[in-house]
């Protein structure tokens, strides 16, 4: 019943051991089973030269527009109600980002709910995160990504295990 993204634990360990400040929180350094990571093992997007996005970015587009856009507006652009997450995904550290989604936060009458027990969000947290980073850097335009990688067996397996 734990929905902590698979890589969070690994990432934490890496952060503790190196204590390195992330110089580049965007560029994909390697991939593992269809997921892309920076040099510091932070999830990130990958867009091929012909515009094909990695599966997680596409999946993040879908999940964002199901779970997040009713407050944060389409395409991570923000609304009169809630901030533009395409900017938050760049300005916030990955672990802070995860923490706010899991636990929520309150700032007067501006309230971010906690999604820690919501599988529809937690099982796709990395997806949403990398999609928003792709939006924030304009690597992906507004709207539905036209071309995408196929869902890898590893991703499908993890999704199945998480959604139960």
């Amino acid at each position: 019943m734990t929905f902590i993204p698979r890589l969070l634990a690994a990432g934490l360990a890496a952060a503790l051991s190196t204590a390195a400040t992330a110089q580049d929180n965007i560029t994909a350094a390697y991939d593992e089973g269809g997921r892309y990571f920076t040099e510091d093992d932070i999830p990130t997007f990958n867009v091929a030269e012909d515009g094909t996005v990695d599966w997680l970015t596409f999946s993040g587009f879908r999940r964002y527009h199901s779970e997040c856009h009713v407050c944060h507006g389409p395409d991570g652009e923000g609304s009169t109600y809630a901030p533009a997450l395409k900017k938050s995904a760049l300005s916030m550290d990955y672990y802070d980002f995860v923490n706010v989604v899991v636990n929520g936060r309150v700032n007067g009458n501006s309230v971010m709910p906690h999604f820690g027990d919501n599988r529809n969000v937690m099982c796709y947290l990395d997806d949403i995160y990398v999609y928003l980073k792709a939006r924030g850097t304009d690597a992906v335009e507004r709207g539905r990504p036209a071309k995408k990688d196929a869902k890898s067996d590893e991703i499908a397996e993890a999704e199945h295990a998480c959604m139960g």
Binding site: S66, V70, G73, V106, P113, G143
Partner: protein, 600 residues
């Protein structure tokens, strides 16, 4: 024996005083100088007999006075005017102000409830509230957290409180209440959180809960009489809802009731619609999902349903059926009939006989509507009353994980809750509409209590091959089922309309304009840009011999979220992205009442 007589006369007295309370409210509704209920009257016509401001002089309208509500969020609904007092409400935290109209709007009292801010994120699409109600010397506020509070209209003191729902499972409130006879009838929000929708009656004098009727579930929860409750003239039979769901899905089946309510005291019926079935992924809820997306006629005293009509069986697009039911008496084929007219999110304008529930007219009120070819009007057909679904736009037939494109209207509907007006002088309905289409991709979701339960990804954009705007303001003939005229608008028209005996029709725009148009021709006669976008409803009253028109500004609601950054059409290809108007280029947050009058 003596005791019994006393008791009986006591009951008679009590009944009589309650009847007087309702008579008092009806008398006030009939006095055009006051605006005593959000919907204008029990018929939801939003029509005023006042004619000091008319088609000839409305062009000279000026701002008479303004009032800041102190809250910067979406302002839906309108103020009320009872006697010389105006009651103004706000979005969360749901403040109520009583203003003295005879004393330059001085604040007589202010009521600010304490609510847990945890309710905020459970409210889908902004913390709006569609206003307070008045009855029997009380102002009735239905808060976001579903607490109902009756305030002494003169002092603001709390007379009673009742709790209608549980925000921790996603039950919230955005709607006003219906005060009728000795009752207060209230609905519930939370269709995107798997709430089992219901409507509940409370005692106007005490706040005691009297009955509750669910939209989905077993007959005893529905308050259906399987032999007497009818759909299109036939008894619904036992388990009419349960038979239309698979397993226990109905328990999180939606059918919430957050729209406007109307009432016919002669028939002792009240009318409202139910919202979407949960989830937005139709594959997870096979069946017709009764009685979501349904028009209900229920007995005011018992809550038992007299008739129902499901407009969109097995919803595949989120076309909630909650929009207002406007009651009129009009001639059809030479016979005067009691009618109910309803502009549904699904893009069809329905006219029914409100006594029997007979379906008379079902026609598209936006030519862009393409998900259906129309409703089967043949009473002898097996599919009588059902809309014929176009396979290309059926998100159920296309299936999970398939992106169905070019569906019109979008999920926000050809019209959302923003109420239309009806002028008996022109026998015309004036309807604020959306002109937006969508791509819709359903996928599997799991249910967690109190968490969003959506299961679809949507992209919305202005109706293609049209005027490029996202709204229209239309005049509708409910007998012929035809548009008389249509005014294109840059943005969805998210403001409730007002028609008057001066042959003027008022509405607000998302850019913030209050507009006045001619009731006969639609010609624009006046516009004024208020400080923020308008999603409130226009109202009018008379004070000291002068007619006033009032409107709340304060952009928000779904429009403030979905349209803030503008829309893009993913099917237009590169280059068109960002090509549509962004609301944030026109207006910003606000919270203000603007009141207009003619110069002295």
């Amino acid at each position: 024996m003596k005791k019994l007589t006393l008791l009986t006369s006591g009951i008679a007295l009590c009944t009589a005083s309650m009847a007087m309370a309702n008579d008092d409210l009806v008398a006030k509704m009939n006095d055009p100088k006051q605006w005593v209920i959000q919907t204008g009257d029990y018929k939801n016509q939003r029509y005023s007999e006042l004619d000091q401001i008319n088609a000839d002089n409305v062009g000279k309208l000026q701002v008479a006075w303004t009032f800041s509500t102190g809250v910067l969020r979406g302002h839906e609904g309108s103020p009320l005017v009872i006697g010389d007092t105006m009651y103004v409400h706000t979005p969360f935290p749901n403040i109520v102000y009583a203003l003295d109209l005879a004393n330059e709007g001085k604040i007589i009292w202010k009521y600010e409830p304490r609510q847990d801010p945890d309710v905020i994120p459970v409210m889908c699409c902004d913390t709006v509230n569609r206003g307070v109600a008045y009855a029997d010397g009380k102002i009735i506020l239905h808060q976001a957290d579903t607490k109902i509070v009756a305030l002494n209209a003169e002092t603001g003191a709390v007379e009673w409180e009742a709790v209608n729902g549980d925000p921790s499972i996603g039950e919230t409130n955005t709607a006003t209440v219906l005060p009728v006879k000795d009752k207060v009838i209230v609905g519930i929000s939370g269709g995107e959180f798997g709430v089992q929708g219901h409507v509940t009656a409370y005692d106007l004098a005490t706040g005691e809960r009297l009955w509750r009727a669910y939209s989905v579930g077993p007959d005893d929860q529905l308050l259906f009489d399987p032999e007497k409750t009818t759909a299109l003239g036939r008894p619904v039979g036992p388990d009419s809802s349960l038979n239309s769901w698979e397993g226990d899905q109905w328990k999180i089946g939606g059918g919430t009731t957050w729209g406007w309510y109307s009432a016919d005291l002669e028939e002792n019926l009240f009318y409202y619609g139910s919202g979407n079935p949960s989830t937005w992924n139709p594959a997870q809820r096979p069946g017709d999902n009764k009685w979501s997306m349904t028009i209900f006629a229920r007995d005011i005293d018992t809550g038992v349903a007299k008739w129902v009509y499901q407009m969109t069986p097995h919803d595949e697009w989120d076309y909630d059926g909650v929009n207002e039911m406007i009651l009129t008496e009009q001639e059809i084929n030479g016979t005067e009939r009691k009618l109910l007219t309803h502009f549904d999110r699904n893009g069809l304008g329905y006219t029914l006989d409100r006594v029997s529930g007979e379906l008379l007219v079902a026609e598209k009120f936006d030519p862009a509507v393409n998900w259906t070819t129309g409703v089967d009007m043949d009473p002898n057909s097996d599919t009588f009353g059902r809309p014929a679904v176009v396979a290309q736009y059926s998100t159920a037939q296309n299936g999970e994980d398939v992106n169905s494109t070019g569906i019109c209207p979008a999920a926000l509907g050809s019209k959302d809750q923003q109420p239309a007006a009806y002028s008996p002088r022109t026998e015309t309905f004036y309807v604020p509409t959306n002109h937006v289409c969508m791509d819709y991709e359903p996928f599997r979701v799991s249910y967690t209590a109190g968490q969003p339960y959506v299961g679809a990804t949507l992209a919305m954009y202005p109706a293609p091959d049209s005027h490029g705007g996202m709204g229209n303001f239309i005049a509708w003939d409910n007998i012929e089922g035809k548009i008389k005229w249509s005014i294109p608008e840059k943005f969805s028209v998210w403001s409730g309309a007002l028609a008057t005996a001066g042959d003027v029709v008022f509405y607000g725009t998302l850019e913030g304009h209050l507009k006045a148009v001619h009731a006969g021709t639609g010609e624009e006669l006046y516009r004024f840009k208020t400080p923020s976008g308008i999603i409130g409803n226009v109202m009018t009253y008379e004070q000291g011999g002068k007619q006033y028109v009032g409107i709340l500004s304060g952009v928000g609601g779904w429009a403030g979220i979905g349209l803030a950054a503008g829309l893009t059409n993913p099917n237009d290809g590169l280059g068109a992205v960002g090509g549509y108007a962004a609301l944030s280029d026109y207006t910003a947050l606000g919270g203000q009442l603007t009141v207009f009058a003619l110069p002295d």
